[in-house]
Amino acid sequence: MNRTVVHDTFVLERSYPASPARVFGAFADIATKKQWWGPDEFDKDAEHELDFRVGGRETLSGTLPGSGSETFTYDGVYQDIVAGERIVYTYEMTMKGRRISVSVATLEFLPDGDQTRFVITEQGAYLDGLDTSAQREEGTNELLNALGTYLEKAI
């Protein structure tokens, strides 16, 4: 197998007309989080568990869309939680039994008048797990679909 590591950081930002406490609250327990978090491409029929405290875990596992029985897993640990202000967690993902990434995600809930500026920063080491032509093609098709869906909404 080709061993590769690609490092990347991306930042997404959005403003919500709600207090930081309320936006933070949407992440703070599984019942609330399930109301908006998914299902998404990767979470369809997934098992989702959440233990929201420092050192607590969040796990998701399921079947890759359109793949029959190929599995993915998500395993995260909450590293830092400041109520209403900040959440930092680390997570790894596997696909078909191979580790494909290890990441740090930082969520910041910043007061901005009567709104909340919500900033997500994801820093990741993306590993060689996807680096076979078949998986590459599959991943590409998925991206194309995801981009298409996203663009249809965005335009």
Binding site: T4, V6, D8, F10, L12, E13, R14, Y16, P17, A18, S19, P20, A21, R22, V23, A26, Q35, W36, W37, G38, D40, E41, F42, I100, S101, P111, D114, F118, I120, E122, G124, Y126, L130, D131, Q135, R136, E137, G139, T140, N141, E142, L143, L144, A146, L147, G148, Y150, L151, E152, K153, I155
Partner: protein
């Protein structure tokens, strides 16, 4: 809000059309001639050529002319695996942020303004 490099802008633009996505889907199965690509589409050959041109400009596909036949194939180097994966995660977050927006909008109005709670402990 979200910035893409110029290359990815072209890819996004190229994929922002159902016909071009259908062409890419078809080419994901393997190379094909322009006439084979055009056959199932309800449009003229020049229109298909136009779409292929946009895809080629984005780097998503390449084509070669052999005699009178032009053959197209996907060029996956444009969409590096890691880049692909990173972009799909961003797209996933964007969908989640939309749903979070809808969820927050569905909640009853908040009572105390955040500012009132601070500095009123005395």
């Amino acid at each position: 809000m979200l910035k893409y490099s110029g290359e990815l802008d072209l890819v996004f633009q190229a994929l922002g059309d159902p016909t071009r996505r259908a062409l890419v889907d078809r080419l994901a199965q393997g190379p094909a001639t322009v006439s084979a690509l055009a056959a199932p589409l309800p449009m003229s050959l020049p229109a298909v050529h136009q779409h292929l041109k946009v895809l080629e400009a984005s780097g998503l596909i390449r084509s070669e002319k052999l005699g009178r036949t032009r053959t197209c194939h996907l060029d996956l180097t444009m969409l590096d695996t890691a880049q692909t994966w990173i972009e799909s995660r961003k797209a996933m977050w964007l969908r989640r942020l939309d749903r979070l927006d809808a969820y927050l909008a569905s909640l009853p109005p908040e009572e105390p303004a955040p500012d009132n709670r601070k500095g009123t402990s005395t």
